[in-house]
């Protein structure tokens, strides 16, 4: 089964792709923090953040359609959390939109949630699409993220497709025996499949552990890190911290 995963365009060539993952991790994290702590009325600041991200997007040569498509993931979040607030909360003046009244207060909350989640999600997409996942994990380890966490993420990345393939094989075997999904009683089969998948994964985990022991694993984390922090990284970090801060403080 052919699979695409979260670092789909991470093998392109661009100045952003070449950067040390640590610089990107720290840089985008700082951008998100500055954005999230900005009061919602400083619209120019948000324009600056988005402008900065657009510039990085341009430099990274990522296909913008792909980026936009992945940004849609933030839409359900906005809808569930904030879309209905202008209609139900009170205060901050009210405006009439035909038959419905919306409160100014609610609108500001909606704007707050929408713009901040957009900036944050775009930052994460830029990070993950320009950095191959294994290198991202190595960067995290170098930044002292606990080894247990990065090992878990590493195995998830490696085995998620294996699990999906097993699920597909189980599904095909099930459908071949006449399971149609139309009857309520057939639902318990799904529970059985999940249990089977869990057992198989658990046993595979034991075998993988044996394979790791066989190659000398002793629980220690030794990271082979081939990136270096240089002028480009320093420049990137300067740009991504100073521009948002300046926008935030001067607006």
């Amino acid at each position: 089964m052919k699979h695409a995963f979260l670092d789909e365009y991470s093998h392109l060539e661009s100045p952003v792709h070449q950067l040390d993952p640590r610089a990107k991790l720290v840089g985008f994290a700082l951008l998100i923090i500055v954005c999230v702590t900005t009061p919602p009325n400083l619209c120019a600041a948000f324009a600056a953040y988005l402008g900065l991200e657009a510039a990085i997007l341009l430099m990274s040569r990522l296909p913008w359609k792909h980026v936009l498509k992945r940004m849609l993931v933030v839409l359900p979040f906005i809808l569930v959390v904030a879309a209905f607030l202008p209609f139900f909360s009170k205060g901050g003046g009210s405006y009439n939109l035909g038959p419905v009244t919306v409160s100014g207060h609610g609108l500001i909350v909606l704007w707050n949630v929408a713009v901040k989640s957009t900036v944050s999600v775009l930052a994460v997409i830029l990070l993950s699409s320009t950095t191959p996942f294994p290198e991202l994990l190595r960067g995290m380890e170098k930044l002292k993220v606990p080894h247990l966490l990065t090992t878990l993420l590493s195995f998830t990345y490696r085995y998620i497709f294996v699990l999906m393939d097993e699920m597909q094989r189980m599904r095909r075997a099930r459908d071949s025996r006449g399971w149609s999904g139309r009857w309520l009683w057939q639902a318990k089969v799904i529970g059985h499949m999940i249990a089977a998948l869990f057992l198989r994964s658990y046993e595979r985990g034991e075998r993988v552990y044996a394979a790791m022991l066989a190659r000398g694993y002793d629980g220690g984390a030794r990271v082979l890190y081939l990136h270096q922090f240089g002028v480009m990284e320093a420049g990137f970090l300067a740009l991504i911290t100073l521009v948002p801060l300046a926008a935030r403080l001067m607006v």
Partner: protein, 257 residues
Amino acid sequence: MHHRPAVEIKDLYYVYPDGTPALRGVNLTIEEGESVGIVGPNGAGKSTLLLHLNGILTGRGEVKIFGLPVEKKNLREIRRRVGLVFQDPDDQLFSPTVFDDVAFGPINMGLSQEEVASAVSRALEEVGVTGQEKRSAHHLSYGQKKRVSIATVLSMNPDLLVLDEPSSNLDPRARREFSELLQPMKITKILVTHDLPFVFENCDRVVILSGGKVAADGEAFSILSDEDLLSGYGLELPYGFYAAPRETAKESGMENP
């Protein structure tokens, strides 16, 4: 210099945690440079025996690898010298990229960055899979995965190569290529498999394991041509095959009648 065989197993007993006895007094000695096939019916204890060779399982009795007893203080050295390749490549290839998998062993050995990189490229070249370093194992074909699995232990420079079901699920061409990959290797080899023709092609000596004990141990031709011996342990050559003595066989393999 005191003579040390590659593998020395004396009276090895092992019982699984749930009480099932798996090995009931295995005695086996393998010299350096030998190529041994271990065959036997399902449940004979073959895979269990392999796990004793590098200390993943510990039973009662004596197991020595190149003279080193398999005990905690020797495990590091033993796991470098014994390259154990598991049956399912997806169990063996657990890192995000091919490079990471082949580098896993050398990194655990404490080699420097340059030494690791050269060990990895050497191992991948030896198995004939180059240029795939940055790919995730999931994107490789089954045959490539099997080859990379071997590379993951070759990069540690082992002295004993142990393969569990090496030819399973390989198509005929991949199986042929795998055989051609193994044969020139001068390293001591142990193959555990059901594929008797594969054993005959790649091993000089055959050991039949049955019921947790060594049932027969001898030259490949004499064991595999003895139909009564084989059928006594639930084994037989596939339909249409018989063992031909090496000198008269077309290419030191089996012939069809």
